[in-house]
């Protein structure tokens, strides 16, 4: 088979799996699990084959016209360069892991068939985005991901949190997608084609008329999808979905799509210095803000969600300094360790029956209950905190190195200020990342108090996946940083001495600081008992998690934080803690800016409809009703009365006719 055929099959197989899963889910339950697991695995193999054949050489391009449109043509096009080939492997790899994990995690879930099919569809859409060489086809995958995330985040739709979160995820990403669509049209109008290669060619020859406007419009969609400030608010709330879905959204699909899109069209952004500066500011605010917010969250998954936002900030930061190699490098290594973090968190939530760090910190011996999750999560957290030699270190240092290079003004098209901003924010975030990673590790696994509940061993499908993901979290960065430049733009990704020492030093400082504070605050543990545990600890993991999410607000008064004086984050953040836990009140701002005006408008329309329009309608109905009531009285049911009336009428008519005829 040619490389093109293989590449077409990569997104097609999960799509067919999804279609078959949706059709057969009820009639043939035995096929659901194979149909869920096999297509992503096959895609993984095919994506690896495609990558081997492409080999980092010149991009593979193929296209066929879909239909004549009369103006700018829409084409089914493939554009596989080194970025696409490697990202596709990551997507298929994480999707396979998630599907295998889900068979254990949602073992007894009645909605598992549709869930698995939607995950497959999600994967297929992301693979389409990755391989597509046509912006409209890319947009199709982009939007399919949006609707899939809506369905999957709302998987536990019995809980109000999940319903609200799925709606929020959909609406916020759509808020960005509208400008995104306009930006795509503007881009295609200038280039005369939606093909990526033609667009890039136009940009290279300076044919783009308004690069700043186009780049900013596209950036809105990217901010929505990749959860960048100010459109990141959907991501922490999306934790109301099942953990494997969080892993999929955060590691491989959805949020990666935005970064990947910018990486693919980086020359468009580079054509405008203002856009690069906006990108840098966005990245810097996102990074530091999410780091602070992560330090204050109580829900273990919300900590990870904010950490994703922060790591995506690193990626956009790398793009802002013009180094897409570093961005995609961090995307790849982050995909592995973030998927691992989420899946391990799912195991922890299942074992402990709670998602609250405050409750976890009052449990002794949880790490002996789930040793697999403990060790793999330790690896992943070290990678997240960028401690050498874990993979996160190399990718993060490549970002910081690129920022330092740009800060000196050595990178073309990039303002020096952008580089400096990303560098400073990146270093500050390194401290914060290490701090919240340490806090998470200490609170989750080194609790003191009552013995952790014992619910038996975790399903094998869940624990094996953790170890599979631990390998790239541990070794990918170190093994790949020398070979990857050949696949990307050729720019070196080797850590530079200065940023390495600075970054690692700051990470160690952050970690040690948290450890010191934790040792002091942990004395308060005994004095304030806290904790709520799921009602059905023996049930499958999905149910335990749904109950944990549903009980967090009733138990602690808030979805994001708990009144826990033994939390080191509370001491570290000081007065900032309350605001950080609420995500710096961005939701309140949105509520004041958008939600309340819309609600006011809705109540105005309601008033106009109910009180004004309905008054006329009601009055118009009242008169016939009154007349009807009068006429109804004549309906006595006595036939003879009717006949009498008939007779009287006839007589009157006859008399009238006679009078008229005689001319009286």
């Amino acid at each position: 088979m040619t490389t093109t055929t293989l590449a077409v099959l990569v997104p097609l197989l999960p799509f067919l799996g999804a279609a078959a899963g949706l059709l057969l889910g009820r009639t043939a339950p035995g096929f659901v699990r194979p149909l869920a697991v096999l297509p992503p695995l096959a895609s993984l193999v095919l994506a690896a084959l495609v990558a081997v054949r492409q080999g980092g050489g010149p991009a593979v391009d193929a296209h066929t016209e879909l239909t004549p449109t009369g103006s700018v043509p829409v084409e089914l096009a493939l554009h596989i360069d080194g970025f696409a080939a490697l990202v596709a492997i990551l997507v298929a790899f994480v999707a396979s892991c998630v599907q295998i994990y889900s068979t254990g995690y949602l073992r007894d879930d009645p909605r598992y068939p549709s869930y698995a099919a939607l995950v497959s569809l999600f994967t297929s859409a992301m693979l389409l985005v990755v391989y597509s060489g046509d912006l409209i086809v890319l947009l199709v995958g982009w939007e399919v991901m949006g609707i899939c995330s809506y369905f999957l985040v709302g998987h536990y739709w019995e809980t109000p949190e999940a319903r609200a979160a799925s709606l929020k995820a959909f609406l916020v990403t759509k808020l960005g997608d509208v400008p995104f669509l306009i930006g795509l049209f503007a881009l295609a109008t200038d280039a005369g084609s939606f093909r990526v290669t033609r667009v890039l060619g136009t940009v290279a020859s300076g044919g783009l008329h308004h690069p700043t406007v186009v780049a900013l419009l596209l950036l809105a969609g990217v901010a929505g999808k990749s959860a960048q400030f100010p459109l990141h608010t959907w991501l922490p709330d999306a934790m109301a979905g099942p953990t494997p879905v969080s892993a999929l959204i955060h590691a491989a699909t959805m949020v990666a799509a935005g970064v990947y899109f910018v990486a693919r069209l980086l020359p468009v952004f580079e054509a405008s210095g203002a856009a690069m500066l906006v990108l840098a500011v966005m990245a810097a605010v996102t990074m530091t803000g999410s780091g602070l917010a992560a330090l204050a969250q109580d829900d273990i998954k919300r900590v990870l969600a904010y950490s994703t936002v922060g790591q995506l900030g690193y990626m956009t930061g790398a793009l802002a300094v013009g180094d897409r190699g570093a961005a995609v490098f961090h995307l790849l290594s982050h995909g592995a360790f973030k998927a691992l973090l989420f899946l391990a968190a799912g195991v922890v939530i299942h074992a402990a029956g709670t998602n609250s760090l405050a409750a976890l910190s009052r449990m002794r011996g949880l790490r002996d209950r789930v040793p697999d999750a403990y060790w793999t999560m330790t690896v992943a957290l070290l990678a997240l905190a960028a401690i050498p030699p874990f993979s996160g270190f190399f990718s993060k240092e490549s970002v910081l190195g690129a920022a330092e290079h740009a800060a000196g003004g050595h990178t073309a098209h990039v303002p020096g200020a952008a580089g400096l901003l990303v560098l400073v924010a990146g270093l500050v975030t390194a401290v914060l990342t290490a701090a919240y990673a340490t806090r998470l590790w200490l609170l989750a696994f080194h609790g003191r108090g009552a013995e952790a509940p014992d619910h038996g061993r975790q399903p094998l499908t869940m624990t094996v996946v953790l170890w599979v993901l631990a390998i790239p979290s541990l070794a990918f960065g170190g093994l790949a940083y020398r070979t990857l430049p050949g696949w990307f733009d050729g720019r070196t990704l080797t850590p530079t001495a200065l940023t390495s020492v600075l970054g690692t030093g700051l990470a160690v400082v952050g970690g040690l600081l948290t450890y010191g504070v934790w040792q002091r605050t942990t004395r308060n543990l005994v004095s304030t008992p806290l904790g709520a545990v799921a009602a059905h600890p023996g049930a499958d993991a999905g149910r335990v998690e749904a109950e944990a999410i549903a009980t967090h607000t009733p138990a602690y008064g808030d979805i994001a934080r708990a009144p826990d004086p033994a939390d080191p984050g509370r001491v570290l953040l000081g007065p900032l803690h309350r605001h950080a836990a609420a995500g710096f009140h961005l939701d309140a701002v949105y509520s004041a800016l958008f939600v309340r005006p819309v609600r006011a408008g809705a109540s105005l329309v309601r008033f106009l409809d109910r009180e004004v329009v309905d008054t006329y309608v009601g009055a118009a109905a009242a008169l016939p009703r009154l007349l009807g009531a009068a006429v109804r009285r004549a309906q006595t049911g006595n036939v003879q009365t009717y006949v009498s009336a008939l007779l009287a009428g006839t007589v009157v008519l006859a008399v009238a006719v006679v009078l008229v005829a005689t001319g009286a």
């Binding site: 109804r632 006595t636 049911g637 006595n638 036939v639 003879q640 007779l647």
Partner: protein, 124 residues
Amino acid sequence: MHLVYPAVLSALLFCTGLYGVLARRNAILVLMSVELMLNAVNLNLVAFDVWLSRAARDTLHSGQALTLFTIAIAAAEIGIGLAIVLAVYRNRGTSDIDKLRDTAERPDGAEPGPAAAEKTEATA
């Protein structure tokens, strides 16, 4: 014979029938009154047919033909009518027209259930 005699007779018959239809309670008597009205019309038809055939040389005798039609139809009608009355009597134990008021308009929303039907029968 002058035309006025049968005309006056038929008018009297018609009025008697009309009075019976409007005033009698028993459904059978009402039906009989309807027969009276029909026969008044028949009488008119025959009388005018004779008068026309004399005065206007009408040889078709359409009045008499129509009378035969009317008699046939009246026979069928009385058969059906009596059958209905019989059915109503068997069903309700009465053939009193005043008490057959199921089609009366009731206040809004009240379904003509058995209780309501009994109540109207009692008040009627």
